[in-house]
């Protein structure tokens, strides 16, 4: 295993441990020693990658919005829907994404800037909406930045409600309902007639994405 790859794996296992401890104890109560014990790495390795608890938290916060290859779609509104529903699916299934989302809503996390994920997600969604706008898919009055913020904020609350009521069991249905309520104010109805925003869509995109990632890995190993 190349040195660089080993460093990436170490970093990832530290982040996974941090995600677990932050989720169980909250940012404020969690300690670096607990994360160290969970990660099973040396103190030196941990501090090499993350010099402080805040760096660990920012690492977990960032993991939720790292860019993933949502396949390109002819209709950019479909790509927007796919991005949101894929995130909902990953939130249900990926402990790292879940820890990141929870940390961004951890109001007791003193001294931790939690605005990053909201702003980055806002940016990702706005860019998709701008592409949709350029293709003439949007209603003329739409302000892409405002619609992006409403989508990101709305999703953050829908997931929190789903978590509080039934530990995410109905998350995909609730997310689909949110999109069904928002999109008629955003996109032309002639575009919406061909958009799939059923709850199952998140898993479909995730599976597709798995295929894409496998292709990329194969390409890399053929090159290398």
């Amino acid at each position: 295993m190349a040195k660089q790859e080993r460093a990436i794996r170490t970093r990832h296992s530290i982040l996974l441990a941090a995600a677990k401890i932050f989720e169980a104890r909250g940012y404020q109560s969690a300690t670096i020693n607990e994360i160290l014990a969970e990660a099973g790495v040396t103190k030196g390795a941990l501090y090499f990658h993350f010099p402080s608890k805040e760096h660990l938290a920012q690492g977990v916060l960032s993991a939720q919005d790292q860019s993933l290859p949502v396949p390109e779609r002819p209709a950019k509104i479909q790509q927007f829907v796919d991005t949101v529903l894929l995130h909902a699916y990953r939130l249900q299934t990926d402990p790292m994404v879940r820890a990141g989302v929870r940390l961004s809503l951890d109001q007791q996390a003193q001294g931790l800037d939690r605005s990053g994920p909201f702003l980055r997600w806002g940016e990702i969604v706005r860019e998709l909406l701008e592409k949709a706008e350029a293709q003439g898919e949007l209603l003329p009055h739409v302000k892409t930045g405002e619609t992006a913020d409403v989508t990101v904020g709305g999703f953050a609350g829908v997931q929190a409600m789903s978590q509080a009521i039934c530990d995410y069991q109905d998350l995909l249905a609730r997310t689909s309902a949110l999109l069904r309520h928002l999109l008629p104010s955003v996109a032309l109805s002639s575009v919406l007639t061909s958009v799939d925003l059923t709850p199952n869509r998140g898993r479909i995109v995730f599976d597709e994405q798995g295929g894409l990632l496998a292709d990329q890995r194969q390409a890399v190993s053929v090159e290398g």
Copy 2:
């Protein structure tokens, strides 16, 4: 001061103290002794009203959705908008409401059932939408329960985003934007043309409500 009124005041000052401590320390870390010190009441008085930390938390959680007299409106969609924007305004200005909302999003609160506010708000909003439906204000496909849940969940996230980014400074504008995005999927456009959902609406309703409450108090003191 009548005995009953004194008891109500004591209960309220205990809840205010609990709200402050829960907001500063989170549910998990807060202790009854801290709340006791903040409230300045006897241990007996506190336990008489709230036998446990969970009872205190449920008291704070409930304070945010206690029914307030939003004035009746001819258009029930306006009453729905007023209810949401008034809540946003109170969240900005009332420490008790803020503590309740934060507590309902406190994911580290082990053993505390936080579903109550989501479910009660869902019920309040659904009833308003049912009245709107009965008056023919809604689009025919609307499922009032689903739309209520999307509104309540969406608002919870919009407020969390506003808090994380700018400590609630833009909350009213964000809430207004959420409603402008949702309502065209919910109500007839002929109803929406006469609905006021500008950010300032929350304060207008709050002031009106202050007048209503003063009238009620006067009526009570005249009767008594």
